[in-house]
């Protein structure tokens, strides 16, 4: 790899926001291949994800990494003429905060970590009605559905969502994971989900286990 590419990866991975965005700008201005530049960004994100998994980085670093990725992506993508969206993914995950709950910090971090790990994530947002999950499963045929919720009211909303997926005849082909706030084995059992996770790394491990490469 060229020196500029190496430097960019290191700067992003080390949370040097201003330097990395400036370097990316300079590289693009001097004709650097934008597709190659985005590949460097992905490599940097893998390092960030690894440092998060190892307990060196925490939420603030993931948030800043996301900002750097967005800033550099916004500069590079308009310069790319060919379609780069058709790459192979590790699998598809539909995720959303269940109906009645507006919290999304946990869901967003799980989404970020799954994307870093190669999953295509369909994020339905917050306060997601049961029908939206069902419709989205029919449309995207995911291997995994992630239900997020911070409040205790989410327990019932998760249960209702799982039941609706079952009633729609879609349950057999997907795995359902729940996460957020106060979920534990009791809640998993109550909702009928397949597994629960306490953090974003748990979500990644579950998806990797359920969707073998």
């Amino acid at each position: 790899m060229d020196d500029k590419g190496k430097q960019l990866i290191q700067q992003i991975a080390d949370m040097q926001e201003e330097d990395s965005v400036k370097l990316a700008r300079d590289m693009l201005d001097s004709g650097y291949d934008p597709i190659k530049l985005l590949a460097h960004c992905r490599e940097a994100m893998e390092i960030v994800g690894k440092r998060y998994a190892e307990g060196e980085y925490f939420l603030p670093e993931l948030m800043l990494a996301g900002e750097m990725l967005k800033a550099i992506g916004d500069m590079a993508k308009p310069l790319i003429k060919q379609d780069i969206s058709g790459g192979k993914t590790a699998g598809t995950v539909i995720i959303g905060t269940v109906q009645g709950d507006l919290h999304d910090i946990g869901k967003n971090i799980v989404t970020f970590m799954l994307e870093i790990n190669g999953f295509k994530v369909i994020d339905l947002g917050i306060d997601v009605p049961v029908a939206n999950f069902v419709d989205s499963i029919k449309e995207h045929k995911p291997q995994v559905v992630g239900l997020s919720g911070f409040l205790t009211l989410a327990f019932d909303a998760m249960k209702t969502t799982v039941e609706a997926i079952q009633e729609a005849g879609l349950r057999d082909n997907i795995k359902i994971m729940i996460g957020g706030g106060q979920v534990d084995e009791t809640v998993r059992n109550y909702t009928g989900a397949d597994a629960f996770g306490l953090n974003a790394m748990d979500a990644v491990s579950l998806c990797k286990q359920w969707v073998p490469a």
């Binding site: 949370m15 926001e17 060196e56 980085y57 925490f58 939420l59 603030p60 670093e61 948030m63 800043l64 900002e67 009645g100 709950d101 507006l102 919290h103 910090i105 409040l151 205790t152 009211l153 327990f155 019932d156 106060q182 979920v183 534990d184 009791t186 809640v187 059992n189 109550y190 306490l198 953090n199």
Partner: protein
């Protein structure tokens, strides 16, 4: 006085319960395991009220609180009105930081939720630091309540003096400012109405022998910056982008926060303050970020409260097990740490002889478990965490709204059997 002794008069019961709580906080063995009743909407639901009714009907909420306290017989309780009963006032204000039941299409039986957003922009730090009161009045209040938008027109007094003060009165007569001031008065009257009902209920329960567990609420400086000013995303990015400004802002808050907390507690004539924390937990920040941006400033707040004889009840939301070695640095026998998912047994080891522990029957168990599950969990807590005193039984973050009454009853009844 032994646990078995039958106290009959209400005033003697009150003293007995208060002593039980203080003994636990000051790390002595009480006669038996003390309990606190803390909930947002469980009390209302227990009595067949919706969340919306709890937020709007002061009298029925008072009756529900009375019933729950009498049925459960905790050693102290949180006044529920101060936690939820502000629906009418928010309507008067056109309040924007919460979504609440029955308002703008939200169903009647869900709790209110805070809207995480940026209420102070990154380039407004300087303005806040120069004049926090001015910023709150001219910028913040207009942002969080539609009816208060005209407050942005009020004179900026540090720069208005002498006869200019007299002339500045003109602003108050402008039609929109006049309307905002009238709204403030109406909102104030509504709060007075709610407080009058709450005060009567508190007095009635005191007369029946039940003390309060909280006489005010306070915050950690980082939580104020993250939750109420910059929003979660803004605050996390500020750890990198605006580190020095964030630290300066928290320095200001470190002085301002205890001042408000002490005033609130003194006004209630009490000595307990409740401090829910949102950003202190494991996983949100690194240990280094925690010891730079969270703990030192919060520790100062705690010390300022303790210095004037107030007992802080700190609700450490989430799992804070990795923070224990840091947060044990407080004067012994003055603080209560109320844990949600922190490892209670490790907490006992780390905090023994320093901090009274409170908690943590899981929400999931109270909602989906059985009375027997609850009793078994409580027994384990009493045997290990309760050993030698310094422990108050409570749910993880208070009684969850959806908890089954039989599970809640089992928890409070079991505590009465836990005699030292």
């Amino acid at each position: 006085m032994s646990a078995g002794s039958q106290v009959t008069s209400a005033s003697a019961l009150y003293e007995q319960r208060e002593k039980r709580l203080i003994d636990a906080i000051e790390l002595r063995e009480p006669d038996r395991l003390p309990t606190i009743l803390f909930s947002h909407f469980w009390v209302a639901r227990y009595c067949g009220m919706t969340c919306r009714e709890a937020m709007y009907d002061y009298q029925r909420l008072a009756a529900a609180t009375r019933k729950a306290v009498i049925d459960l017989e905790p050693d102290a309780f949180h006044p529920v009105h101060a936690l939820v009963a502000f629906g009418p006032t928010m309507e008067v204000l056109d309040y924007k930081q919460l979504e609440w039941p029955g308002h703008k299409g939200i169903s009647d039986n869900v709790p209110f939720q805070y809207l995480d957003a940026q209420y102070m922009a990154a380039d407004e730090y300087e303005e806040y630091l120069l004049d926090p009161t001015g910023f709150m009045l001219h910028k913040y209040m207009p942002r969080i309540a539609g009816a208060l938008e005209p407050l942005s027109q009020l004179p900026v007094y540090p720069s208005v003096l002498h006869t200019r003060i007299i002339q500045s009165m003109e602003a108050y007569a402008r039609p929109e400012v006049r309307r905002a001031l009238e709204t403030l008065i109406r909102a104030g009257e509504e709060i007075q109405k709610m407080r009058a009902v709450q005060d009567r209920m508190v007095q009635e329960l005191k007369d029946l022998g039940f003390p309060l567990a909280a006489h005010g609420t306070s915050h950690a400086p980082f939580d104020v910056a993250a939750d109420y000013l910059r929003g979660s995303k803004g605050a996390m990015l500020d750890l990198f982008r605006n580190k020095d400004k964030l630290l300066s802002l928290m320095d200001r808050l470190t002085t301002l926060i205890p001042r408000a907390g002490i005033a609130a507690v003194k006004a209630m004539g009490g000595n307990m303050i409740f401090i829910p924390l949102h950003w202190g937990l494991d996983g949100f920040m690194s240990p280094k970020q925690f010891t730079t941006f969270f703990w030192p400033q919060f520790q100062k707040v705690l010390l300022a409260l303790i210095e004037v004889g107030i007992y802080p009840h700190v609700l450490w939301e989430g799992d804070c097990t990795t923070r224990l070695e840091v947060i044990k640095d407080v004067p012994p026998g003055k603080c209560v740490y109320f844990f949600e998912r922190t490892d209670m047994f490790k907490a006992k080891e780390a905090l023994r002889g320093t901090v009274c522990i409170r908690g943590n029957v899981p929400a999931s168990m109270l909602i989906a478990g059985t009375p027997n599950d609850v009793r078994e969990y409580c027994k384990k807590l009493f045997d290990v965490v309760g050993e030698g005193g310094g422990f108050i039984l409570d749910a993880g973050v208070g009684i969850p709204d959806e908890a089954k009454p039989e599970n809640v009853l089992a928890m409070y009844q079991f505590a009465k059997e836990c005699v030292y």
